[in-house]
């Protein structure tokens, strides 16, 4: 078997699996691919790994009863065992009143998410990217740690009602942290894209992180409180993702969400944030390139969730959509927040007094009623005075809601694809966001951490 399945191979594997099915309905989800990474720390490679894997998840159903079994044993015996096991579980499972019928065949618009440059990012090329960073850090007398990670693969979903969907994709991420040898300064930079050729190069990333590490050596301690902040795209994306993934209709309708209306229902049609905010998802967006279908094969279309500050859509799964008499609206594997044309420097130039934030970390929910989250700043917070960065300040803990933040919006800059996962690997959504200027951002304590 190749490292990932072609469309024909995926179809053949799906048919072979479905051929063992004796249930009323069967769905097969296929994944395949390679996962390669190289880690570095203390200016040298530490570990690396290349894994090849493939697997199927079989969901069998009898009436309203359903169950899933996954396996990576793909010979006939393994597939037969998985199908039979899922049928056995499904027969035992109580009826699920929310189980929706299998979707019929559909012709999907392919998304060109597979990049040869990413697929070719082998151990030697990854080591070269590492050396570009460690060399720069070393020359500056600093210490670098980071990750070059790429996945290349193909997935498919098929069912006994004739549906077959196939999507091949790649993603590459390079994230790095450069610290001073005495641990008093730290800077971060990162990039992510489907196409390694369109990701920011190692030298440029190193330069950015080195500059931040050097600039954070002697931070001033500012009192916690409410500050005007300039959030770099990564910092903005860390918080905007929390809003995007709260766009769930059912939780709202059931009174469990910020988007719940008092007395019942949801807030679609209401202005929820500043009128300059528009948040959309589109699998064909050249900087997002996410799967054109959901896990059950439902086509994913472009959806504008928040338009000019007004909540336009919430995500409805098929069951909830039918119950509420609306069309199902799936969330895509990524999102874009529209912005303007201003660069980060131009945004900084417009701030009289404020803080420039590189990124946030360890973000955890505090109160789902208000989408209040806590977390800390990391790898570079800088004081802005009269439009210029004048020095570094210590990290802060924040307690803030992305909704409050977007109601206190001052300006938006030019959007870019960011490395959005807190863990700095290829996991998580594809995210394109602008840098933001926000007033009255709530920092609740100072952190000594560097």
């Amino acid at each position: 078997m190749a490292e990932w399945l072609s469309r024909a191979e995926a179809r053949q594997l799906a048919e072979r699996t479905l051929g063992f099915s004796k249930s009323d309905g069967c769905q097969v989800t296929i994944s395949s691919g390679v996962n390669g990474n190289t880690r570095y720390a203390r200016n040298e490679v530490t570990t690396a790994g290349d894994t090849v894997n493939a697997g199927v998840t079989v969901t069998s159903r009898f009436g309203k009863r359903a169950a899933s079994v996954s396996t990576n044993l793909l010979d006939d015996a393994g597939l037969r065992r998985a199908v039979e096991a899922s049928e056995r579980l499904a027969r035992l499972a109580p009826e699920n009143p929310e189980l929706m019928p299998l979707l019929p065949a559909h012709v999907y618009t392919a998304v060109p998410a597979f990049s040869g440059a990413t697929a070719d990012l082998d151990a030697a090329r990854r080591a070269a990217a590492v050396q570009a960073v460690t060399g720069a850090a070393d020359r500056a007398g600093l210490v670098a740690a980071g990750l070059v990670h790429r996945v290349a693969g193909a997935g498919a979903v098929a069912n006994s009602a004739g549906l077959f969907a196939y999507h091949a994709s790649t993603t590459a991420v390079h994230t790095l942290t450069v610290r001073t040898a005495d641990g008093k300064g730290s800077g971060w930079a990162g990039t992510a894209h489907n196409d390694w050729g369109r990701a920011t190069g190692a030298a440029a990333l190193a330069e950015r992180a080195v500059r931040k590490a050097q600039g954070t050596r002697e931070p001033a301690t500012l009192e916690p409180g409410k500050y005007t902040v300039v959030l770099e795209p990564t910092a903005a994306g860390n918080l905007l993702g929390l809003l995007a993934f709260a766009l769930n209709a059912r939780a709202a309708d059931e009174g469990r969400s910020f988007f719940s209306k008092r007395g019942g229902g949801n807030r679609i049609g209401e202005t929820v944030v500043d009128p300059r905010v528009t948040l959309a998802s589109d699998p064909q967006d050249p900087d997002l390139l996410t799967s054109p279908y959901t896990g059950e094969g439902l086509p994913v279309a472009r959806t504008v969730w928040i338009e000019n500050g007004i909540l336009k859509h919430l995500a409805y799964d098929r069951f909830w959509a039918e119950k509420q008499g609306v069309a199902p609206t799936p969330f895509a594997g990524g999102f874009r927040v529209m912005g303007g044309t201003a660069t980060l420097d131009e945004l900084v130039a417009g701030v009289d007094r404020g803080l420039l934030v590189t990124r946030f970390w360890y973000i955890r929910p505090v109160d789902q009623r208000t989408l209040l989250y806590t977390g800390i700043t990391r790898d570079g917070v800088f004081l802005i005075e009269r439009g210029k960065v004048t020095g570094a300040v210590r990290n802060f803990r924040f307690n803030e809601s992305p909704v409050v933040m977007l109601n206190n919006l001052v300006a938006l800059g030019r959007p870019e694809r960011i490395s959005a996962s807190e863990s700095g690997d290829v996991g998580g959504a594809a995210v394109v966001v602008p840098p933001l200027v926000v007033r009255d951002f709530s920092f609740t304590s100072v952190s000594e951490a560097v």
């Binding site: 078997m1 720390a41 490679v45 570990t47 109580p94 806590t374 304590s445």
Partner: protein, 527 residues
């Protein structure tokens, strides 16, 4: 009070159920698997590896999730494959595949060596491994009584739906989610240092969350089964946890939270019960004493540690009071990190990380020991190597890290009785901590006002914020042996790409003087 009820009902449930008698068989080594392991090691050495190890793993997982009276997910998974790790040119290489055939193990072994050679070009300090004794044919199995994969799925679903029904009988309780998750890891390990082991490791996680909604005022509050720990045990633990017997109590607390008094921010004495405190230990002691963090290896994600560099910490850093002793081990029966040998082929040690309030050691793997030898004189690994699956490379993960009980036979009730103006916190809630573990913020599941040595009412919107060593040095009372309990986390993230680890933390209840409490209902108002 809650805790005693829980222990009582849990005990009754356990007594009421007859488990099939079982003699835990030692896991078997498959002769063909052993042969393929040796083939991989030989191929790696022939290609130029100075060291190699191979892990062959078959992992079963099962999850059942429900809400109210329906199943929301029922899944069963199996993944099988092997990973070969090598040292060549002083650098690590690792490759893995799902096809366990003679040709593929040799290809993967050679691939790992080629990768190590590519990595060695970006290397400064060749890896050295601490010695470890040979293990000819090691066998280990979690101390389970009943294999959860032998229990019919109907029984699992019925238990959850019964628990949900009990929760929903409580007026005001609107939603309930419950789930069971099980893992069985069958792992064969072999290394060129003459280690061959076969282990069968189990984990289980019963959970329930009930939500009460006040639709008139637009509020909602939840309470989860915080007292039910995930354990390295089998089905017997699910029965003992007794979700159906406890669900109504959790639902009542969720409803009570709707009208609980919102906390006044300020400084309070906190009484933290073990099912809450374990997470504070996990975040503020276990993570900062990982040697890789302290040395900068995890700087790009998990972070570094304030407890660094080791030469300024060992024997010098006062973390807490004289009576504070923190143990690292992988041997407490039923604990999540328990095993016979780690993923370096090392039998883990039980040892002190903090002794009499002072840091004396870190968590280590074979390739880390040399960093500490000049400081500690130790030449062997503590056995903290772990990989999430066959597809992931092993690295340093925390063992069980536990706060040992005090010498005096104190209980939770004694701590409450001795407190004038405090808050008693039950269960884990929201938590966040910085990348060097200086500053943290923790919530909980339920909060009680303590006045004049008595619980006087329920509070909500409580979170406390502190600096790690200030917090631990504010600890002035801890429970004795009788009050020691274990809890843990089923999925602790670390590494890049991220890997998950399961780990337990034991502790008695403890009291902390004058800790800063925020009100989270008012946007995190400061005390």
């Amino acid at each position: 009070m809650d805790r005693r009820d829980f222990v009582k009902t849990a005990g009754a449930a356990a007594a009421a159920v007859t488990l099939p008698p079982r003699v835990a068989p030692a896991p078997q080594a498959d002769a063909s698997v052993r042969d393929l392991c040796l083939r991989a090691l030989n191929a790696a050495q022939s290609a130029g590896a100075s060291y190699a190890d191979v892990r062959v793993a078959r992992t079963r997982t099962q999850a059942v999730s429900t809400r109210e009276q329906q199943i929301t997910a029922l899944s069963d998974g199996e993944t099988f494959g092997f990973g070969v790790r090598v040292l060549a040119g002083g650098a690590w290489g690792f490759a893995a595949s799902r096809e366990l055939t003679a040709r593929e193990v040799e290809r993967v072994a050679r691939f790992a060596v080629a990768q190590a050679q590519a990595n060695s070009r970006a290397l400064r300090r060749p890896v050295t491994l601490a010695p470890t004794p040979p293990v000819k044919d090691g066998r280990w199995r979690s101390p389970i009584e009943a294999d959860p994969f032998d229990v019919p799925i109907e029984e699992k679903v019925a238990l959850l739906l019964r628990a949900n029904a009990e929760a929903l009988k409580v007026q005001g309780a609107r939603f309930v989610n419950s789930s069971l998750a099980f893992v069985r890891d069958e792992k064969t390990y072999a290394s060129t240092d003459d280690v061959f082991t076969v282990q069968q490791i189990y984990r289980c996680l019963p959970q329930l969350t009930v939500t009460a909604v006040d639709s008139a005022r637009g509020g909602f509050e939840s309470r989860n089964s915080a007292e039910v720990a995930p354990m390295g045990l089998g089905w017997e633990w699910v029965l003992k946890a007794d979700l159906p017997g406890n669900a109504a109590r959790w639902a009542e607390e969720a409803v009570k939270k709707l009208t609980a008094k919102s906390v006044e921010p300020g400084r309070y004495d906190l009484i933290l019960e073990p099912h809450h405190l374990f997470l504070t230990i996990h975040e503020s002691i276990a993570h900062p004493t990982e040697l890789d963090r302290a040395l900068g290896f995890e700087a790009n994600y998990a972070g570094t540690s304030f407890a660094a560099p080791p030469e300024q910490v060992l024997g010098k850093l006062r973390y807490g009071p004289e009576f504070m002793n923190i143990q690292g081990d992988r041997s407490q029966p039923g604990s999540l990190s328990a095993c016979g040998w780690d993923d370096d082929g090392v039998a883990p040690e039980t040892y002190l990380i903090i002794k009499d309030g002072v840091v004396v050691d870190y968590q280590t793997t074979r390739d880390q020991v040399a960093w500490l030898t000049p400081l500690t004189g130790r030449t062997r690994s503590h056995g903290c190597s772990y990989a999430e699956s066959w597809a992931d490379v092993q690295f340093q993960r925390m063992p069980n890290v536990s706060l040992l009980p005090g010498e005096r036979d104190l209980t939770l009730d004694d701590l409450i009785a001795a407190t004038d103006n405090g808050i008693y916190i039950v269960g884990r809630g929201s938590y966040s901590i910085d990348q060097q573990r200086y500053n943290f913020q923790f919530g909980g599941q339920a909060f009680y006002e303590v006045k004049g040595g008595k619980i006087t009412g329920m509070l909500k919107d409580v979170a406390y914020q502190a600096r790690t060593t200030d917090f631990w040095n504010a600890m002035d009372m801890i429970g004795g042996k009788r009050s020691y309990q274990m809890n843990g986390t089923f999925s602790d993230g670390k590494g890049q790409p991220g890997q998950s680890n399961a780990v337990s933390h034991g502790c008695p209840p403890a009291r902390f003087k004058g800790i800063n409490v925020l009100n989270t209902g008012r946007g995190g108002d400061r005390g």
